[in-house]
Symmetry: C2
Subunit: 194 residues, 2 copies
């Protein structure tokens, strides 16, 4: 099987990321050992440390990929043209649903911030999840549904955080209905305030 170098690299990296994703999601960052990752990927630790600077770097790539997947699900649920409030509500629901998949909440909401730090995690979020939420907020302001006097980034961060907590709570067996209702109340309340 004569493979070009680029093919080898891409294949190996993909296998490592996928194996790491499964383990990080299943057992969390701390309980996942690099020997396990390498074994699951069918390579040795040498390959892992050749392609990634350290365990955290691999973890970061996994987080980025997963955050992207979640953002894609949210975007799909909020086609352009949706009314401001509907966009926020529908987007929120899609987010909560996407986060229920396997152990995404632990990966993105617990291990991610702790391992990479809030700053790095915010950067990842800004590229994916938070981005669409912020657009929703700005859109609502432009439409007059939300007071233009409010600080956009702070509002976005707070809403994002509330969504995150709802996702965690539901994942832990909380009442999805109640959290959906609470999120709607938060959003509707904001839209009335001016």
């Amino acid at each position: 099987m004569a493979r070009t170098n680029k093919e080898r690299t891409e294949a190996t990296r993909a296998q490592l990321v996928e194996a790491a994703r499964k383990l990080f999601i299943g057992k969390g960052y701390a309980d996942t050992a690099t020997p396990d990752i390498a074994a699951a990927a069918g390579v040795t630790r040498g390959a892992l440390y050749h392609h990634f600077e350290d365990k955290r770097a691999l973890f970061r790539v996994v987080c980025e990929r997963e955050a992207e997947a979640v953002a894609a699900a949210v975007d799909a649920a909020t086609p352009s043209g949706t009314a401001p409030r509907d966009a926020l509500i529908k987007g929120g629901e899609a987010y909560l649903e996407a986060m229920q998949l396997s152990g995404r909440t632990r990966l993105l909401l617990l291990d991610g911030p702790a391992v990479l730090g809030r700053a790095d995690m915010d950067a990842i979020d800004a590229r994916h999840g938070t981005r669409s939420l912020r657009e929703g907020v700005v859109y609502a302001m432009r439409e007059g549904a939300l007071s233009r006097l409010l600080p956009v980034d702070a509002i976005t961060a707070l809403l994002s955080s509330a969504f995150d907590r709802a996702a965690l709570a539901i994942d832990a067996g909380g009442d999805a209905e109640a959290y959906g209702q609470a999120m709607a109340a938060l959003i509707d309340g904001l839209m009335q305030a001016r």
Copy 2:
């Protein structure tokens, strides 16, 4: 120096907890090693593992103590008799201020949930921080300032999460003014919704 056993135990435990607190706050959970903790406390690792089941158990005690201190600061800022809205606003401000101390945000908002898990961390919060917030929400409902139809626990959790994020953002150099404004908007919005 003839000391009773109870005195010895209390003194040693206190030294260990204090030393651990400083290190956990300064370097985070993962980068703090038990040999360092023991050395800083002036004992050996033997003493540490005699008094605590493992590193996590010690960490849990530190979190509990620190959460208690934060809750005390919040309670002090919201004397009984304060109007519902004022209680939430003032309490929130006191919370944000108390969380700025040293590395409390990392301890309680990043490492805590990741190391102990959301469930355990929620239990700690329920005994301290969230408790007073929940009381504020219930109080506001009773006074009619907040719709009684809303799910209390979900609302409390979401507000709590928003406060947490504000604390993290401010700690990371964010605009405290903007976050205070955003929090007020969230609270006022909720109170108008019915």
